[in-house]
Symmetry: C2
Subunit: 184 residues, 2 copies
């Protein structure tokens, strides 16, 4: 049935268009200014069309977050295979700095995504496992806890960097110090 699939294809394209546009909009003006009207305008459809693809505005941000967390995982894995935990940490912070709106969607914005539980999206678990793989060589007892500690430390630096609450000139020494002490 080519007709069905043509419709489905068009639908999928609109879906991607909305997601892509929302992400660009968020990166350029911040999530606070990503409104249904502006987004609808940007994709050249009326507001209700958005609701034909997503439950609500929040679901759009969640979808962007899921895209992002997969990218983040890839970035961490690539870096780790090359340069170990230090490179992984840098890759994490680089991603947060280069895609602040996406990072915010994943880890800061109020979201319906479930994290700790069994029904959380597998991509979230994958990201966590990637950090775990990075710290595992340095965990003498409890890798799970060390993973959480390391991740929290990275997350703290990422958010405080972004909100200008840390000296922008000392980003690198902070990563160095964190990695060297936590792996001691």
């Amino acid at each position: 049935m080519p007709t069905q699939s043509r419709r489905e294809r068009a639908r999928a394209e609109r879906h991607d268009l909305i997601l892509r546009t929302a992400r660009e909009l968020a990166e350029s003006v911040g999530w606070g200014a990503v409104t249904t009207r502006r987004l609808a305008e940007a994709v050249d459809y009326s507001q209700p069309v958005l609701y034909g693809h997503f439950k609500n505005m929040n679901a759009i941000a969640d979808a962007v977050a899921l895209q992002g967390v997969e990218e983040l995982t890839v970035a961490m894995r690539t870096a780790r295979e090359d340069g170990g935990l230090r490179a992984l940490a840098q890759a994490y912070l680089d991603y947060a700095a280069e895609h602040p709106a996406v990072y915010e969607a994943i880890f800061v914005r109020p979201t319906d995504l479930s994290f700790g539980s069994p029904d959380s999206p597998s991509s979230l678990k994958d990201a966590f496992d990637e950090i775990r793989a990075g710290v595992e060589p340095f965990a003498d007892t409890d890798p799970e806890t060390l993973t959480e500690v390391f991740w929290s430390a990275l997350h703290g630096q990422a958010t405080l960097n972004h909100t200008n609450r840390l000296r922008p000139t000392h980003a690198k020494p902070r990563v160095d110090l964190l990695v060297s002490r936590l792996t001691g």
Copy 2:
């Protein structure tokens, strides 16, 4: 001039009432539900009265934040004098857990408060100095950077704790591990 002072006293009381109510409201329903109408209703005045005391809604949250950061500093100092850095860390996380809305106002919400610069409120500098005093014994070279790293790590745990992104059962081991490794 007792008349002047009576008016001023009434004004100051209203000011405090607004602040106190905003804080309670935020802690019970979250900042997202603290609207000018609800807040005005709660203090039994009309909306414009709020604007006679604060520039806007954001300024109210900022005022709550400044109150909170002073409380946090006291809590950290008391703990540190008693039990060193480990106690300070626990006090920090306890404060964040017990006053999530206040903590959010200080460190998460978009705010006009300036942090790094010379014109930032002294209470913010005091809080930072308090952490610095805690880590100083363990800084072999650069206490400033170690302070930022430690603070970021605490902040990360505080926020990820609160948004249910870490195992709630393992809060204490996380602090233990962080302190023991970072002071190693």
